[in-house]
Symmetry: C2
Subunit: 235 residues, 2 copies
């Protein structure tokens, strides 16, 4: 019960700020809140007590075991347990599409920047890493609790469900530069796997875009590339 299981239907927010995000943005998913015995009885504790009582969510003190089994950080004083939830993408809005992302930390950071730049949702094409992994949740800084996202078994499945929209695959082989394009909502910004990028067949989809960069490096970090694209499209 107290180890995260990718195939299970439960996950955890590790940390106080993150757990407040869970309670404020996705209260219907929260099932239990654990508070370490080391947590001081301060204003944060009071706020948490009031909030969980209001929401009718059990607040459990004195369960050190879950802290040891779920977190390798000593400073985690609060853990939220929640049921994995599903959401659907709004086709009138802009999407970030991640084809086979493999790194949970990157994925969480992409939730964070997608939220910062008002993306309408994130489509994740399997095989892919796990948005519900506590590491993804942590690096999302809680954005996973407000940003709609959905897993698809193939890009074609996503495309069939996504309505009429413009597609911008980000590829090092693209000829058009990011910044030369003004996107018209709704559009999808599409990114490939961290190591391999998008397959060549995406060169035939919509308008492939290049983030101009020096030849010093092979490519940008995936979450950096997504952030730059989101920033550029929103300005």
């Amino acid at each position: 019960m107290e180890k995260y299981d990718k195939k299970g239907d439960i996950s955890y927010s590790l940390g106080t700020t993150l757990t407040f995000e869970l309670l404020l943005r996705k209260p219907e998913a929260a099932t239990k809140i654990f508070v370490s015995t080391k947590q001081k009885r301060d204003a944060t504790f009071d706020k948490l007590s009031v909030l969980t009582k209001t929401l009718g969510i059990p607040l459990i003190i004195n369960n050190e075991k879950i802290f040891h089994s779920l977190s390798d950080k000593d400073n985690v004083m609060v853990i939220g347990e929640f049921k994995k939830f599903s959401s659907t993408l709004d086709n009138t809005k802009n999407h970030v599409v991640l084809v086979n992302p493999s790194n949970n930390g990157n994925l969480g950071t992409i939730f964070r920047s997608s939220s910062a730049f008002n993306a309408g949702g994130i489509a994740i094409i399997s095989p892919a890493c796990d948005a519900f992994d506590p590491k993804s949740i942590r690096s999302s800084m809680g954005a996973i609790f407000s940003m709609p996202f959905h897993y698809f078994s193939s890009f074609e499945e996503y495309k069939e469900s996504a309505g009429t929209r413009d597609y911008y695959p980000f590829m090092l082989k693209a000829k058009t530069k990011l910044g030369d394009i003004k996107g018209k909502t709704p559009y999808s910004l599409i990114f490939g796997n961290e190591a391999t990028g998008l397959p060549d067949r995406y060169l035939k989809l919509g308008t492939p875009l290049l983030i101009p960069q020096s030849s010093n490096v092979d490519s940008l970090n995936l979450d950096n590339a997504v952030s730059i694209a989101l920033y550029s499209f929103s300005h």
Copy 2:
């Protein structure tokens, strides 16, 4: 000897690609190359043998211990040992200035994007995390071996040494938006700590800039913010 010591004068590149970056871009720092007995005698191995022989750097096979003590990944087949090196910043070029960065992974990613967008160097203001930590090196994808960087004990020390240039501190309290500014070389893009940002006193330095973002999130991830700023200033 075979654990990374922050205070020591030795560090390690973990992985084949990274070790080639060390040998090609910073050969004078490389002291030994370790190859796992599990490494196949393939074209990569041949290339490594020739390169180390040409450079006069010992190639050591059959040292599983160093692989176990330095790497938690099974797929690391090659490790480069090198002496920590120092570099100076070129004051005719643009700098990224990181005030008290705390995360080695972020720092490495900033090296990578700084290289991608042709920054001239990185100034790191102590206290700060460690650019030579194998984790920083790994997330830099080798950019640490070509991008000049220097540690300073205070921002003032950096400023005294940096010559005449324009300063752009990135702050959520700034009034001027990134994108409304066209930077003139040489300039410095300045970023605060991941959790706390820059102190208010930086509002009086140069032209503080804001990356416009929604109120949904507190801020962007540090390396994402740096990438967006570098991209915007280079276009």
